[in-house]
Subunit: 261 residues, 3 copies
């Protein structure tokens, strides 16, 4: 794994997550809930998965970060996301938004744009197609997989960062994070990561953990992508397919300590 | 694994899935979403899990196959299933229906019969009890596990195929697929597959991948069951329990190439 | 693993689960559904995950136990829980309640108290904070993780057992089960179990399996915790992180036979 950010600060932030165990509140999709919760536990955070509109205000109150992921969206969950997002914004809890499948259907793209408008996320993380679809309505996604490389999407990411005020992360063979001006880069990981469902959603959850301990959103987001890349390339070395990759990835994330990095 | 269908055609279809990466749209149950998505990725397809009624028309439009599975059904999801099914039928997208727990409660049986009536599925895959319950209201299922062997259900499967117009697949120690006249057979797999939750639901998802590349529904469905059986018996050889079986099964499905078959 | 209960009776109950395969009906959270189902299959039970209010009466009718877990609660699911709970109570089907996150938000605490009032659960299993929050409204949970040790919560557990009429189980480094007078104890397991999401929820599901074959709720609940502890410490011996722990735990539960115990 290679990155443009300082590893010294990243070591401090890993130590901070492992000692403070920040609560990361996830309103995420059904497919990845188990893996995202385990990934957060592996890095040292305390995950909670909760979407009931009535309790959003109270749950956000005890959270170090809020992660909103629209993977298996419907109207009912959208209401919980809005309430949680507004509460987080009011309280200064960092919000990480994952626009899963933006561009695949117009309903998804519209829902994401509405969430950006209403909740002002701190960080938005998506793949190339998703980020481009949020900037250019003519870009289509094929379901939840990206049809665009992360470098193709970099200009769209900068533009989205400037208009939304969020740090935007595009994941891919190379990961980019930008606040509209600066661009941080992470290289590494392994192609088999794209064969494990929800690896991107897991990245978004891990961004939440780093955002809970580091208020510099650009750095926090890049650190999370670097952690994913570090664990992913080590796990790929022992994986025999996507089943063992999913398991080994969690084991490697457990092994990620300031000393080992 | 032994089967009555030609392996030459199956090799071509595996190659087609691995090169075209067809989008398989799943409206499936919460229990198996992660595994079904990973199984589809393992065989080379591109899974999307989406149930929001408002986006069904648009999601089906980009799909190579639609998989409907009623494992954790409620009224809210049933509406999404109806909308997606009707859209798929209009557009000629193959529909694969999994009647999980038909016969366990009258509500489930009725919901499946209504979905068959309204959406005309291309393929229906269930276990012995589920298929029998759809033909004979007096047959009861014990939850989602089968109390009948697949061979006991073969006559019911033929009858259901004739009345519904769908290819009907019964999975069990021996798998059968029938269009009401012809019967194709797959033997193999391993009993430990019944100890892994959602192995049948995963089979249904894999049927979707083959149906997306082969318009002969009888052959596509049988190929999918053969792929399950092939991966299952190889995984069982290394599994120590249902935990490692679930992982090894995905790894073996990743290894299934035209050359290896 | 060390416990105050007789291993002879526990061996009989394991044999009874493995021969009768009782249906355990779960209304549980999205995060753990796959693992809970696999854990029930591993111990020999037949899991069904179903929450549709309309079918609750019919599903409970064929169940050996009902497990209600509020991990990812919302109003819609609460209605299914109420209906299933009332039906189970009428029919004498044992009810196991898991008050996930009680104390984290007032809505959760209130929902649990209402479920206790309306359905009279046979057994309640939670961690230290959750049990304390049900007795003392001033105790707060940090999300779904416990901030209190199990021994700190023992007096609250006794009090809750007396007022609710349920056997109350507190899981932690040491597990306690009490009917308000007697206290049974299980020691063992491994700290890495707290790094696997939903290990507590899995325990609750396994309590359901034992409650289905043993009408002495205090003994059944303790046996389930002993089974968790037995499998957990064996799995921890081979686990490299929470990924392989989750897999090895299921494998070890598969290996739990009357002879091996």
């Amino acid at each position: 794994m290679k990155t443009t950010i300082e590893l010294g600060r990243m070591r401090e932030d890993i130590a901070a997550i492992r000692s403070a165990n920040p609560l990361v509140h996830n309103i995420t999709n059904y497919v990845v809930m188990n893996n995202s919760a385990n990934a957060l536990l592996a890095i040292g955070a305390s995950p909670v998965m909760a979407h009931w509109a009535e309790e959003m205000e109270d749950m956000v109150q005890i959270a170090g970060a809020l992660v909103i992921n629209i993977g298996t969206l419907d109207s009912h969950w959208l209401e919980g996301m809005r309430r949680a997002g507004k509460a987080a914004q009011r309280r200064g809890v960092p919000i990480v938004l994952d626009p899963v499948g933006a561009g695949a259907t117009p309903q998804r793209t519209a829902a994401v744009l509405e969430l950006i408008e209403c909740c002002h996320p701190t960080i938005i993380r998506g793949n190339g197609s998703e980020i481009m679809a949020l900037v250019d309505a003519d870009v289509k996604s094929k379901g939840v997989d990206s049809s665009r490389s992360s470098s193709d999407a970099l200009e769209a990411a900068k533009s989205l960062a400037r208009t939304s005020g969020a740090v935007v992360v595009i994941s891919g063979a190379t990961d980019y994070a930008t606040d509209g001006e600066r661009v941080e880069v992470v290289e590494g990981g392994h192609p088999i990561m794209t064969s494990v469902t929800g690896m991107g959603c897991t990245a978004t959850a891990i961004v939440g953990a780093f955002a809970a301990v580091n208020s510099d959103a650009l750095v926090a987001a890049t650190e999370a992508m670097a952690a994913m890349s570090w664990a992913g390339e080590r796990a790929a070395a022992v994986a025999k397919g996507n089943g063992s990759m999913q398991v080994a990835f969690l084991d490697e994330l457990c092994a990620l300590t300031p000393e080992k990095l």
